[in-house]
C-alpha cells in the first residue's frame, strides 16, 4: 500500500494517542468502572482525533483534548443508559457532568489511575499470556496487530485473547483497586512478572526475526520505566528497570554480523549501548538506596541487575569481578529453586574459584536442559579434560532446539 498524505497524518494522530492511551483509558476506567466501555470510549476519542486533527492540527495539550472528548462520550453513554432504563443507580454510582469534571480534573491521581490499570491488566485471574496481551494493549497502547507481530501469533489469536481476558475480568468481579501492604507487594510482583515475560519473549528470540522482537523488548523497557514513575518507593521496580536497561545495553553486541550468537565474554564491549548502561547502573543504585532507606528486602530482579552490573562495569571480560558474581548467584540460589540460576552459579563459581568449584555446583543439581551440559563441557574443557568436555558439548548440542547454538556447541565439541 502506498502511503498517502492522509495515512501519514493518521500515523501522527495514532502516535500521539498511543502516548496518551494509558492515561486516557485509566481515567475513563475510574469514571466508568467498566474496562470494555473505557476502551471503547478511548477508541471513540481516537476516531474523533483522526477526524479533527488532520484538519485543525494537533492540539496544544493532546492528552487533555482526548480526555475531554472521551469524557463527553462517557456522559452521553450514561445519559442514554439512564433514558433507556430510568435507573442510573444500577450503574454503581450516579454520575453527573459536575462530578465527572471533578474526577477528570484530579490530575494528582493520574499516576494512581495508570497503576490501578496495570494491577487490573496483570490480574491473577488471567493467564500470563493474557496479562501480557492486555497490558500491551491498554497500558502500552499497542494495536492488536503490533502485539501479534511481537508474539509471532495471528492477529485473531491476540484479539480473542484480549476479549477473553476482558470477559474473565468482568466475570471474576475484578475491580479497580490500589492494594496495600503484602497484597500490594504481591500484585506489584505480578505486574513485574508480566513486564519481564514480555521482555524475555523478545530477548530470547533468534536473530532472524530480531528486528521485530527488539520492539517487544523496548516495549517492556518502557513499561518498566513507567512503573518506576508510578511506584518510586518500591525498591524492586527500580531493580527490574535496572535489569532490563542493562540487558538491553548488550543488544547490538549479542549477534555477530553473520547472525551468530556472541557469548557475553566474547562481545565487543564498545558495541554496548553505554547510555543504557549508565541508566541501568543509576536505576540499580536507586533500587539499593530505596531498599536500604525503607528496610525493604532486596528482590531477585535487583540481584540479577547487580550481576548484570558486574559485567557492565568490567571494561574487558578478564576484569569481571567473578567472586562478587558468584556471591550474588549464591544469594539468588537461596531465593528459590531455579535450574537456570544453578547453571549460571556454576559458571560464576568456576570462573571465581576454579573449574572444580563450578563442577561441584553443577553436580549438586539435576542435569536439566542443554545449558547444564554446555556449562559442564566448558568447565571440563577449562580443567583440561578434553574428552569429557567433548562428550558434554555433544549431549548439549543434541538437546538444544536453536540451530545457531547447536553449531556453536558442536564446534566446541571438536575444538576442545
Amino acid at each position: 500500500m502506498t502511503p498517502t498524505p492522509e495515512a501519514a497524518t493518521d500515523r501522527a494522530v495514532v502516535a500521539v494517542w498511543q502516548l496518551e492511551s494509558a492515561r486516557v483509558v485509566s481515567g475513563l476506567l475510574r469514571m466508568t468502572r467498566d474496562l470494555a466501555l473505557a476502551e471503547d470510549l478511548a477508541q471513540d476519542a481516537l476516531v474523533a482525533a483522526l477526524e479533527t486533527w488532520p484538519r485543525d492540527g494537533v492540539p496544544a495539550n493532546p492528552g487533555a483534548w482526548l480526555m475531554t472528548v472521551a469524557k463527553r462520550r462517557a456522559v452521553d453513554t450514561f445519559r442514554r443508559a439512564e433514558r433507556h432504563r430510568q435507573q442510573v443507580e444500577r450503574l454503581g454510582h450516579e454520575l453527573t457532568e459536575e462530578s465527572m469534571d471533578e474526577l477528570v480534573d484530579h490530575v494528582d491521581h493520574v499516576e494512581d489511575d495508570v497503576l490501578r490499570l496495570m494491577f487490573l491488566t496483570c490480574h491473577p485471574a488471567l493467564t500470563p499470556e493474557s496479562r501480557a496481551a492486555l497490558t500491551l494493549r491498554l497500558v502500552g497502547g499497542l494495536t492488536v496487530e503490533e502485539i501479534a507481530r511481537g508474539f509471532l501469533v495471528k492477529d485473531t489469536a491476540v484479539g480473542q485473547r484480549i476479549s477473553r481476558a476482558k470477559r474473565t475480568l468482568a466475570e471474576s468481579g475484578a475491580v479497580l483497586e490500589m492494594p496495600v501492604g503484602a497484597e500490594r507487594t504481591a500484585r506489584l510482583d505480578d505486574v513485574m512478572a508480566v513486564i519481564y515475560l514480555v521482555y524475555n519473549e523478545g530477548y530470547a528470540a533468534t536473530s532472524g526475526e530480531a528486528w521485530m522482537r527488539t520492539d517487544l523488548c523496548l516495549e517492556a523497557l518502557r513499561l518498566a520505566r513507567m512503573l518506576v514513575a508510578l511506584a518510586p518507593s518500591d525498591a524492586e521496580v527500580h531493580g527490574l528497570q535496572a535489569l532490563l536497561e542493562l540487558q538491553a545495553s548488550r543488544f547490538h553486541a549479542r549477534t555477530s554480523s553473520s547472525g551468530e550468537p556472541v557469548l557475553l565474554e566474547d562481545q565487543d564491549r564498545a558495541r554496548w549501548d553505554h547510555l543504557l548502561v549508565r541508566r541501568g547502573l543509576a536505576a540499580l543504585s536507586r533500587a539499593e538506596s530505596v531498599a536500604a532507606s525503607t528496610g525493604q528486602p532486596v528482590g531477585v530482579y535487583t540481584v540479577q541487575a547487580a550481576i548484570a552490573a558486574c559485567h557492565a562495569r568490567a571494561r574487558r571480560a578478564e576484569d569481571t569481578d567473578w567472586a562478587r558474581i558468584a556471591a550474588l548467584y549464591d544469594l539468588l540460589s537461596s531465593a528459590g529453586d531455579n535450574p537456570a540460576v544453578e547453571v549460571n552459579r556454576a559458571v560464576a563459581h568456576g570462573r571465581a574459584h576454579g573449574s572444580d568449584a563450578g563442577l561441584a555446583v553443577l553436580d549438586s543439581v539435576e542435569p536439566v536442559g542443554h545449558l547444564w551440559h554446555a556449562v559442564r563441557g566448558d568447565l571440563l574443557s577449562r580443567a583440561g579434560r578434553r574428552t569429557d568436555a567433548a562428550a558434554a558439548f555433544r549431549t548439549a548440542a543434541s538437546l538444544t532446539r536453536n540451530d545457531a547454538e547447536r553449531s556453536l556447541l558442536l564446534h566446541r565439541a571438536t575444538s576442545g
Partner: protein, 124 residues
Amino acid sequence: MRYMVMLSMRSDVGPPPQALMEAMGVAMGEAFAGGLMIDAGGLMPMSDSTALTIRSGALSRVDGPFAEAKEVVGGYAVLEVRSHEEAVEGARRMMQVHLDHWPGWEGSAEVRRIGEPEAGPPPS
C-alpha cells in the same frame, strides 16, 4: 528507534524565564516517566565554546565568544520511540512549552534518527 532532538535558537537569546524552566521541568518529567525520553541536556552559552574546523586541508581552532548572533543548538533530548511520528510529537511538546512560556522566543527543533547497527551504517 532512537532519535535525537536538537533545539536551536539565537545564540544571544539570553537566560530563559523562570516560567519556562518550571514548565520544561514538568514536561520533561512526564517524558522521562513515560519512558519516551532517556537523556536530555542544555548546552552552555557559545561564549564558552570552541570550534574546530578543517578547511582546505588545514585544521584550525577558534574559541568563543563569536561575533555573529546565529542560530545554534541550545539543548538536546534523546528519545526512544516506536515511530518517527512519536519522536516528532515528543519534540512538538518541547516546542509547545517554549511557545507557551517564553514570549518572543524563536527557534527550531530538528528531529533526527540516531543510527543503530541493525539500521545499517549511517547514511553518507
